[in-house]
Symmetry: C2
């Protein structure tokens, strides 16, 4: 009965989109831009002949619905938007693999599958223009409060609110996107890994356990600016020295836990001139783990270390939380389906957490059973034009994702999903 | 026979100058500015009634000459220019103490001392506006080549060449300032320490051994930019980690030597965002010591350490010399006179090198016997309005400087100085 998906059609669609919306520097589907709108128009063209309905929700996410015998819906999704100079797979692989699953179901079930299947292209997953990622999915989940974001501006000074209006989105109404949650029974997302784990293990596919919690902090050390020539080593209060100790210490703190990461991504020195001991050093810290307890422990250790180093160097230290999110574990039953689908397709399944956030995290937070599948990223690269995945892995990914969708449809159809 | 100097007159002059050329943020005698020219005009007013001649040399340094029985000349000097928001003593203490010595000699010897005494206010010691310090003294010494500097611009885009022209200095002729070296037999400079050494020892005055050599380098570590969420700790090539190790390692390298200093004053991270492992880290290193061998050893150790750390972190490292100057030891005979003068005035003399450069270094490089005397800086502070020295220390400084000048005049007069 099952009509097999056609992975080569997905790859062909991806290449067509790349040709239409990329340039020599990479993908240019920045959300709320003309190129992004063009990509969405192209996508709508792909729906011709499918017995599906299409609409945009109040936050600009694109919904394609194939009505089934039951109103209970399986959601498939990802995002067509990209960072500037982005890759050809990040986000759009999931949307176009989802489209292929939809096509196959429409054909297989003669237009009416047992459950409703809905394909979503979330608006502005990347947040690359206004610094607010997961825009559409958080509106859907009801976790988005626009007040904090409406005044955000892009590098040209255009306000988020105005960019939305030009795409016919009314900023006051984006919360209405929550209506799309009705009848949603499960959510599946295929994505490239964007990291080196699967490649290092020689695996095409991975089962994603959830998205790691993130603790993101600004840490500033205050010492004493002093003349580099006249100030003896023994009397210095060097803010950089305290920061350097922390930059090194966060590594053993993270390495105690198998999947944890800790990153000092930015260091700024003041006055920051060759002839002065650093009086103030501003740093950032980003820590992630799938276990909330581990994450809290890492944060406490880093804070204690920073205070110890500040004291050793005659400095003071100040912490300020930039942003944080709790770990979001995916649904254990769907993780099981994903593992089966990956094993049936590729022979072996590996479970891993996702370090990057994804729209799936917002959907899971809304209480909808969710899982993601990863496919290998060559060199672990993403967010640039070198991003790539082997054709054979893309093929396996589409096939495995189809298997996962069928297993989940059965589960949703049986009414087991709540 | 000796007419004692009047230190209170020096302090009174310093306060008058502060009132005329400072504001609530500090001294504003930026070289080649209207306020600086006003300070110089005020200084010329102070010469009224003195049997001295005055002229500006081809590089804009101000020369006040009290002709003596011999043409062989004792030079006294420092600088009236300041950094923006500078202190009330840096530079002008030496000029006004020199003026007091000149006054005292004119009175004592009825206008004609045994040797000629020349007081110089060097043009643009600070280099605060165009980044070219020791301007007047290096023109005097013949070590200044204008070609490298004529195109320098200030923050408003004004070219050095044009700023000089507005002060009636012809950039093509500044080398003519070398003519002032004629008959110069010795050079003395009184300056605030601008560091914490004398204060820590409870001493008002210090004997300066010379200016430290400086090695100033840009050091860049190249690693691999990577996503902070998806890149496991074990596979990172973190350029910041290598730089942090070096920031800490330069300290034991310097501490092996009693007066050596090593400073990482600037760290820049690229891409420098909270969500990315640092792919490139640009740092600066400034190392100083009075012993050329020690300085070379420190530099070699730092370089070897940077290469070791780069290797440990899977990075590469690149060095580029920004600037360097050899150590400039002062004249041993004059150091002896300075030590006598300080001991006779304050009871105890301490020898120390100068970390900051001074015009005296350029004069010494020109082969003229040179020494400097330091007086204590409260809190080691300089280059800001908090710069200060106790009145009793300023008083001792002027008295000791007068003693040093008299000893040196006798030496010059005896024809011992070559």
């Amino acid at each position: 009965m099952c009509v097999p998906v056609n992975p080569l059609r997905v790859i062909s669609d991806l290449k067509e989109l790349r040709a239409l919306t990329g340039d020599t520097k990479g993908a240019q589907r920045l959300a709320w831009s003309a190129v992004w709108l063009e990509a969405r128009e192209w996508f709508q063209g792909k729906l011709k002949g499918l017995p599906a309905e299409h609409h945009y929700d109040a936050a600009g996410s694109s919904w394609t619905t194939l009505r089934g015998e039951s109103e209970r819906a399986l959601l498939l999704g990802s995002h067509l938007d990209s960072v500037p100079n982005g890759g050809w797979l990040d986000g759009c692989l999931g949307v176009l693999a989802g489209l292929e699953v939809l096509r196959s179901a429409a054909e297989d079930f003669h237009g009416s599958p047992p459950v409703t299947i809905r394909l979503v292209d979330w608006a502005d997953e990347e947040g690359a223009r206004f610094g607010r990622s997961l825009f559409g999915s958080s509106a859907f989940a009801g976790s988005h409060t626009i007040e904090a974001d409406r005044g955000r501006t892009d590098r040209d000074g255009v306000r988020l609110e105005d960019a939305l209006r030009s795409c016919e989105i009314d900023v006051e109404r984006i919360g209405d996107a929550g209506a799309e949650r009705k009848n949603a029974a499960a959510y599946l997302e295929l994505h490239i890994e964007q990291g080196p784990v699967l490649e290092a293990r020689g695996l095409p596919l991975g089962v994603v356990l959830g998205t790691k919690g993130v603790e993101r902090h600004a840490i500033t050390f205050h010492g004493q600016e002093a003349h580099s020539g006249s100030t003896p080593m023994a009397v210095r209060r060097d803010a950089l020295a305290a920061a350097a100790k922390l930059a090194l210490e966060i590594r053993p703190i993270a390495r105690k836990h198998s999947d944890a990461v800790a990153t000092m991504g930015s260091v700024k020195t003041f006055p920051g001139i060759v002839t002065a001991v650093v009086g103030r050093c501003e740093t950032t810290l980003d820590m992630r783990d799938l276990d909330a307890g581990v994450l809290a422990e890492m944060l406490a250790e880093a804070r204690a270390a920073s205070e110890r180093f500040a004291k050793e160097e005659g400095c003071s230290v100040e912490w300020s939380r930039i942003w944080s999110i709790e770990p979001i574990p995916f649904d254990s039953r769907l993780i099981g389906f994903c593992e089966e689908a990956v094993r049936e397709t590729a022979g072996v399944a590996h479970r891993l957490p996702s370090g990057p956030l994804h729209d799936a995290a917002e959907v899971a937070r809304a209480g909808i059973p969710t899982v993601m599948m990863f496919t290998q990223s060559l060199g672990g690269l993403s967010h640039n034009k070198a991003e790539d995945t082997k054709v054979e892995d893309l093929t396996l990914a589409v096939e495995a994702f189809e298997r996962l969708a069928r297993k989940t449809m059965r589960w949703v159809g049986d009414g087991v999903a709540s």
